[in-house]
Subunit: 406 residues, 2 copies
């Protein structure tokens, strides 16, 4: 069994890097704070005798050898980048659970048959740079290294330059790295487990996701003298599209999701009718068919709006992954480990994307969810209970041992 207090203390120590007044964390991908977080985690890994390798997209692989190092490693991991107003647990819990598994194995002198690796994936959140889950996406070939390198943040800074700047651009070719099995522990980020008073969520699948940038171009002009009937107000047209995003999600229950989270108005002056508005669209669903229909509904609505308003409305898809079912072996291992440890489980479909869905393209993969307070995540008040975090990490340890062999 792992040491819940040690895990908790590490979580709290890492959370101080970028800690906010409201108790959350702001540690955006590839910032100085991200570098400090990476330095801390790798120092802990080295203290446990692990080797540390960084690949070209900045993914970090921390390895504990097994008895048979010809075997592909059993891997766990997650990310330590956060949302601008993020919490202490999202991602961080998965990485530090991996470290805690290693500490436990070392403490009890347990040797595994296959080597064990803990991964820190680059830019999972997708908040500063798209595509989301960038590091694991490049690793599994979902998109190219080139594509990821050229992603820019809102200030025009490039991934490649930022990786170099913080010193986390490695030599290892992305994906040049076999995996035997992959597990990821994570807070649920939704209300299902808490409402059902259940400690462990077994994750059968992850919702597919489609992200877009939508740009509406009207005509800038003075808010005073310009009569209402001749305006080409890019914001007004945008508000109807924003409402439609939610309407589309509601049309495909129970897993349909639609969100506009990011908006940029130009020139963003009180007395200027907005000439251009750019905003993000996030659509999700559990089946590829429903997600495709949501996509088509969106296209049809935009086409109707173009006709109705005469304004230019552009849509670019900036991230996509289909719904991802996990491998029955891994799902079963998580269920069996929980049962052996005496934890109550239930199936919880993940509404959030995770690096595990890309790892799942290369190896059997599975996830372990634990409850978070009020189902809240991507919020500074995100919270989780030490005993739940400990339980999830115990399940991770047992599931990994089942895959790695003792």
């Amino acid at each position: 069994r792992i040491d819940g207090t040690r895990l908790w203390n590490s979580l709290m120590e890492l959370a101080r890097i970028g800690g906010t007044a409201k108790g959350g964390v702001c540690r955006l991908a590839l910032t100085d704070l991200d570098k400090r977080g990476r330095d801390l985690v790798t120092s802990w890994a080295r203290a446990e005798g692990m080797s540390v390798v960084v690949d070209q997209i900045g993914n970090i692989f921390m390895r504990r050898p097994g008895r048979n190092n010809a075997l592909p490693p059993v891997m766990t991991g997650s990310h330590i980048d956060t949302q601008p107003t993020g919490g202490k647990f999202d991602g961080n819990y998965g990485v530090l659970s991996g470290i805690e598994v290693i500490r436990t194995l070392n403490q009890h002198n347990i040797q595994t048959e296959a080597p064990i690796e803990v991964a820190v994936w680059t830019n999972e959140e997708g908040s500063r740079f798209v595509p989301v889950m960038m590091g694991s996406g490049v690793f599994c070939g979902a998109f190219t290294l080139e594509h990821a390198y050229n992603a820019t943040d809102i200030d025009g800074k490039k991934v490649r330059d930022e990786l170099e700047r913080i010193g986390y651009i490695g030599d290892q070719v992305c994906g040049d790295h076999p995996i035997g099995a992959y597990y990821e522990a994570h807070i649920e980020q939704g209300p299902v487990l808490e409402n059902a008073d259940t400690v462990i969520g077994v994750v059968p699948a992850v919702l597919g996701l489609s992200w877009y940038d939508c740009t509406v171009t009207g005509f800038e002009s003075h808010a005073g003298p310009t009569p209402m009937e001749i305006r080409k107000d890019a914001l007004q047209v945008s508000t109807f599209i924003m409402q439609e995003v939610v309407a589309i999600a509601n049309r495909y229950p129970p897993y349909g999701r639609g969100t506009v989270g990011q908006v940029q108005v130009m020139p963003n002056s009180r007395n200027v009718i907005p000439g251009q508005v750019k905003f993000s669209i996030d659509l999700r669903n559990v089946s590829e068919d429903s997600l495709t229909r949501m996509h088509e509904d969106l296209l049809a609505y935009l086409e109707a709006m173009r006709k109705k308003t005469g304004l230019s409305i552009e849509l670019e898809r900036v991230s996509y992954f289909p719904p991802c079912p996990f491998h029955p072996d891994c799902v079963d291992n998580v269920r069996a480990a929980s049962a052996a440890l005496g934890y109550k489980t239930m199936d919880v479909v993940s509404g959030a994307g995770h690096d595990a869905i890309y790892a799942a393209r290369l190896a059997p993969a599975g996830m372990i969810f634990v409850p978070c307070k009020d189902g809240v995540s991507h919020n500074e008040i995100e919270d989780a209970r030490p005993e739940h975090l400990e339980a999830g990490c115990n399940v991770l340890l047992q599931a990994m041992l089942a895959s790695a062999g003792v």
Copy 2:
């Protein structure tokens, strides 16, 4: 008659300070560029032998003595701050027309009975700081110097500090300064004159304006796992209010105007349901009664939305001036001067606010409009024809002479 070429050349020279690639100007109030603009204009005034005085809010008064300096000056003026994506003429035309009037008087050795002053008012646009028409507003006592000093831009910078930084915080007490009459030449910023193929707009009145900051507070949470039905999406609620702003304006034609120009979404991340949205509301109309009813409609709608959504919706009024009719003497002088010069005129109600409406609280005031291309202003492609600008400046000269006495 004034020298149209000299006026045009000065306009083009001033437009280079902050000139943009698209041919517009970005010279926000109290920036380094604003300082450079002020330095240039005052250097031109000094070259004409004018005295230059700056008051505590940074208004600049450039004075040419009259025969009887006990008389209050006949004043003209406008502003040289611009929108973020502004044009070359808005405001600048009024200030440089004043300089051109002085140059013409000097060239022809004309002495006026009353002194003549050209004013550059601080922060007319209201784009960087509210209240709008700040300099003239403090000057006429519409709000206090203290209130204006404490206004902050989007980065939290204060008016007082910025005035000090650019060296335009003067000693003269605001408003400690009588005015005999006030005229302001301006591009129309709307389509009326151009559509009627008319050179001079006589301005009977200016629409009243009510500006607000609206803040909707919901609850930040993850765009993936959070079911649609439990969301408190501050942006979705905001979109309905933004649409209502336009609906309210349409309810009070033909002068009702409603605009949302500035929006800030928090935390502004793609996969976070917005927890808070702040946006501006701009309402205008020609009668105080209709503007009051628009205000009440807005309050009623927000109250209904609070009840319907349970979200916190705050509204703060940040600028207000009632509709402003101009003084019949000045309006008549403009009409008479135009007739004497042989220019076709028509009445045009101003949709934009102008420093003249605050000057009108202290002295008889009037305005002269000239057409702008396609009625477009607050846009980098704002344009006006040299012969129209020349005509407006000739009318200004004659109207001022009528008030000042030769």
